[in-house]
Amino acid sequence: MSDVMAPLATVTALPAQGMITIRGNLKDAGFIAAVKSASGLDVPAQRQIVTQKELALAWMSPDELLLLCGYEDAPALTNAMTEAFGDQFAMAVVVSDARAVFDLEGPKVRDVLGKLAPVDMAPGSFGHGEIRRTRLAQVAAAFWLTCDDSARLVCFRSVAQYAEDLLKTSAKPGTEVGYF
C-alpha cells in the first residue's frame, strides 16, 4: 500500500539559479566561438541541453540560448560573454531573478509532466540531454531530465506558486497513467 499512497514524484522548489539569456545567430562561427570561450560549452543542437560541471547550456529557439550557472556567477559570466561577443550582433542578459526552478523526483516523473505539457514524454522520444521549452497547463515552462526518474523545470517567477500547485496536483498518489 505504501507505494500506492506515494506521490508520482516529489516536487521541490529550488533556491535561485543563475540564468543568462543569450541571443545571436546559433549557426555563426564567431558566435559559437564566443560562447565557447566565455562558458567552455558548445552550442547545443535543437532542443538539446549540454552540461559541464556547474554550467549547462540549453537551446531555446533558433536564435536563443539559456546558460545556467551559479546564482552569484551570472553577472560576471554575462560580462565575459558580452566581451567575447565584441562587435558581433549578439546579446547576453541576466535573467536569474525572473525564474523559478523545481526538481521533480520519482519513478513516474514522465506522467506528472505528460499531464500538463503537450510533449511526447515517452522514453524513446524524450531522453537525457533534451530540453523542452513548452507550456505547463496555462504558463510557459521548460524542462529536462536530470536522470531516469528526475526532472528539472523552469518557469517564470511570478507563477511559481501556480506551477508548484499544478505539479503537486498532477503528482497526486494513485494517478499514474500507465502509458510509458
Partner: protein
Amino acid sequence: MSTRLATGGRLIDRNSRVEFTFNGKRFTGHSGDTLASALLANDQMLMGRSFKYHRPRSVIASGPEEANALVALGHDAKMEPNARATTTELFEGLSAKSQNHWPSLDYDIGALNTAIARFLPAGFYYKTFIHPRPFWKHVFEPFIRQSAGLGPAPKQKDPDRYEHFYAFADLVIIGGGVAGLHAARVAGEAGLRVIVMEQTSAWGGRSLVDGGTIEGVSVEAWVNATVEALESMENVTLRLRCMGAGVYDHGYMLGYERLTDHAPVDDMPRHRLWRVRAGQVLSATGAVERPLSFAGNDVPGVMLASALRDYVVNFGVSAGDRTVVVTNNDDAYRTAIALHEAGLSVPAVIDARSETDGELPNKVRDLGIRVETGKAIAKVKGGKRVKSVGLCLQAGEGAVLEEIPCEAVAMSGGWSPIVHFWSHTGGKLTWDADAAMFRPDHARAPTGEEGQQNQGIAGAANGEMTLGAALSDAHAQAREAVKRAKAKLPGTASPKGEAPAEAPLAPVWIMPQGANAKLRAKMWLDFQNDVKVSDVQLAAREGYESVEHTKRYTTLGMATDQGKLSNINGLAILSDAIGADIPKVGTTTFRPPYTPISMGSIAGEARGEIFQPLRRTPMHEWHEDNKAYWEPVGQWRRPYCYPRSGETHTEAVNREVINTRENLGLLDASTLGKLLVKGPDAGKFLDLMYTNMMSNLKVGRCRYGLMCSENGFLSDDGVVARIDEDTWLCHTTSGGADRIHAHMEEWLQTEWWDMKVHVANLTEQYAQIAVVGPHARDVLEDLDGMDVSKEALGFMDWADGELAGIPVRVFRISFSGELSYEIATPAARGLELWEKLHEAGKAYGVMAYGTEALHIMRAEKGFIMIGDETDGTVIPQDLGLNWAISKKKEDFIGKRAQERTFMTNPDRWKLVGLETVVPEEVLTDGAYATADGANGNGQGNVQGRVTSTYFSPTLNRGIAMGLVHHGPERMGDVLDFPTTDGRVIKAKIVDPVFYDKDGEKQNV
C-alpha cells in the same frame, strides 16, 4: 414483467449484491450490471419520459446510442444529468433519478401533451410563438424552457477532480471489438506505438454475444488470447472505459477515460481526457442497429433486437416471457435463438421480407418458432408496457390479421456502420443500396496536413457485418494503416472467423409500407425528442428539402444521442417524401464528441487554486500581510488599497493619496513591463515602434513614449530609458508587457527581419518600487549608497548604484506629479528593499499606496491611462498628445493611418478635464454628455463621454477626464451627464491638468 433469469449473464457476478436506488426506491443488482440491466432485472421497466409528449419510456438499446433511459445520477453537487443507464456501470450506493416528469414518473401531468399531440406538430413553436415579437423573450421562451429540457444542471460546484494527459502514438484504434483487437495485433507486431480505446469495461464487443468461432475456437477464447498477447507488447496500450471522443485536424484526437465513475473514490480524478497526437487513427467502432418505424415502436418493452439479446446473454435479464421479433434481416433471428436458449418464449418472428431461407431463419424454424414472412407489425398495444402486437401485411395498409399477446418486441431495421470518426475530419460516405447503409468511401478518406490519408476504418464500421468478413477487413485495413505509418508489414496471419451466412436485408422505412396517417403519427424516429414519421413528412410538405434544415425544423437527431438511432430512418423518410434518392439527401454532419463528455474533463486540472495562473510580485506576501484589497490586473493581483481597521476602501484611498502628496508613499510597480531592446539597429527600430523619437535619447536619460497599432490607435505607453549606445529599456503598461513583447518580435521576425535588434523581456527580472512624495529624496539619502540629488539625478535621468547595499537602477520619473523615483532591483532583493524603505520611511510618515491612489494622482495631473482614456478607437491626437508625435520621422507604426481623413477630422472627440459643478458630485464612469436632438434610431444625441472619473482628495472635489466634441475649444462650457438612476450631473469643461500645472512639485 422483466426479470433476472436463473442462469446466464456472462458479465455479472451472481455471488455479489450491489445495492442502489432509483427514484428513492431500493433495488439490488450484481457487479457487472449496468444500471439499465439492473433496473430491468428488478422489473423497473419505466425509466423516463420523452421530451415533448412526456410519453412513458423504457430502455431501447444496450449501449451509447440509448435515447430513452437517461437518468440523473447522484445528488446535490455530485448530480450528473442525462446519464445513459445503458453505459452506467452499477456500483454500491448508486442513486439515480428519472428525468422530465412531474409530479412523478408514473403519473406525469405533461403526458397530457400526448393527447394534444396533433396540435404540437413539427415547427409548432416556430409557428405559434413568433408574434408578437417581444412575447418570445418575455413570455413564451421562459414558459417553454420550464416545460422542456431534460435533466437539470447541478446547482453546486462540482467537487470532483479531472485531468488531461498528452499522448503521442503512431496509431490509435477506436474500439476494442474483435476487429480492433486484431488490428492492434497487426500494428503491434509491426512495432507501431498503438493505443486501443474501448468505451465499455470489457474487450470483445458484440461478437461475444453474437457468437461464431475464430480460428476454430469460441470468440471468447480468441478474445482472451488476443488481449493477453497485446498486453505483453510494450508498444501497445489497452484502455478500457476510454471512449474515442473526437478526431480533429493534424491527427489530434481525444479519448475520454472514465476512471472512477464505476467505483467512486475521493480525491482521484473522475475523468481523464487523453489529448493524443496520432499518426494514424483506425475506427473499429462497429455498427449500431436501427429501429423499425411501426406504430407504437416507443412503448416500453420494444427494444432493439441486439439489445434484447445483450440483456439475456450478458446480464441474464429478460424483458418479458414472450418476445415478438420483428425484422427485415437475418441477424435479428439471433435474438430469437438466444431467447429460446434462455428458455423464453418467442411467439413469432415477423419478417418483412417475402421470403427467408437463410441459415439463421431456418435454425429458428427448426426450433419450432413461428416465422411469418411478408408480415409487419400494424400496431403495438400497451401504455406503460407492451401488451400485444397486431400482425399485418407489410405490403398493406395495416389491417390487423391477428393479435399476438407478448411483453416485449425485439426490432431490427438493419445496421448502420459507426462512421463518426471517419467523418469528423472530412472522410466521405457512399450509399450501399443493397445493404441499405452509408459506408465509408475509401476513395475519399480523411486526410492530414500534407494531404496524406491519416484515418482508416475497419470491420463492421467499414460495412463488413459478418464475423468472417469483419476480421479479414480488420486485417487488411490494419495492414494499410501500417503501410501509411511507413512501418514494415508483419507476418501476422489473417484470422478466420466463421458464423452463419446471412441473406440480404430488405430496406424497410415504414411498417407497413402503406400505413395511414394515424399510424404514421405513432411511428417514432427520434425517441428522445418525439419526432415521428409524420413530422418529417410534414416538414417535406412544407418545403424542407435539405436534411440539415429538416433536422432543425423537426429537431430530428438533435437529442443527446445525436441521432444515432434516428438519422438514417429519418432521412430515408425525407428522401421518400421529396422523391429524391437517399444519397442525394445525404446525412447531417457528424460532429465530435461521439457521445457527450463531461465539462470537467475539458477543464482538466484547471479548478480551484489552479483555475488560472495568478501572478505574484516579489512583494505579494507583504501586501497580503498588510491587508491589501486586491485588484486583478491581467493575471497579476495588485493592491487596490491597504485599508486599515475601521476604514472603508474610499477612506483608505484618500488617506494614501494625501499622505503621498504630503509625506511619502511607496508603490509596488513590479508589474510594469520591462523590455530590453538591444542591437546596432535598436534606435532605428524604436523610432518605428514609438510615435516619438527614441534614437536621439541620450544615455542616462528617460523619455515618455507612445505606441500605436498599424491603424493609428493608441496601444501602449511608457517610459523608455537609454542604457548604452545600442541598448534601450522600454517600460510598458502592466497588462501590456507580453503583448508588446510579442508585437516587437512580430515586426522583427516578419517585417524587419534584416534589422539587427534583439528584445528580451525582463519584466520579472526586476522588482520595481515607486518612492513618491516630498520626502522621497530624504528617504533614499537615508538609505545611503548613491547620489540622488537634483544635480546628480535630475528629472528624467536614471542611474545605476546601490541603496542600503542593494544593487539598484533609479529612474527619476513621476506619474503622480510629486518628487518621485522608480527603483528597480533584482526581484530576489525586492522585498528586502521594500522593507528597508518602509523602515527608513517611518521618520517621514511612509505609507504604501495602491493602484487606486495611483490612478487618482495621475488623473489630478491629467496623465492618461491606457485602457481608460483609450479603448482601441482613440488616437494620440484625440488626447492632445501631439507633442509626443514626431513630425521629423519619415515613418512609424500608425503614422499613415493617422493621416486618413477620418483621423484628421476636427469633429473627433478630444480630451478635456471635467469639473463637476457641485464639487461633492462625482461623474459616472463611461457616462455620456447629452446633446440636442436625436439620431436616426430615435436615440438622443451625445457630444462626449467620461473616460476617467474620481473624487480628488487633494482638491476635495469630483474630477474627471473625458472626450468631448470640440472639447478643447469649449473651456468653461457646462455639459449634462445623465446617470442610470435618473439624475443629471453637470460638469464644466476645464484643462485636464488639475494639479500643479507647472510641474514645480516633481521638479524639486
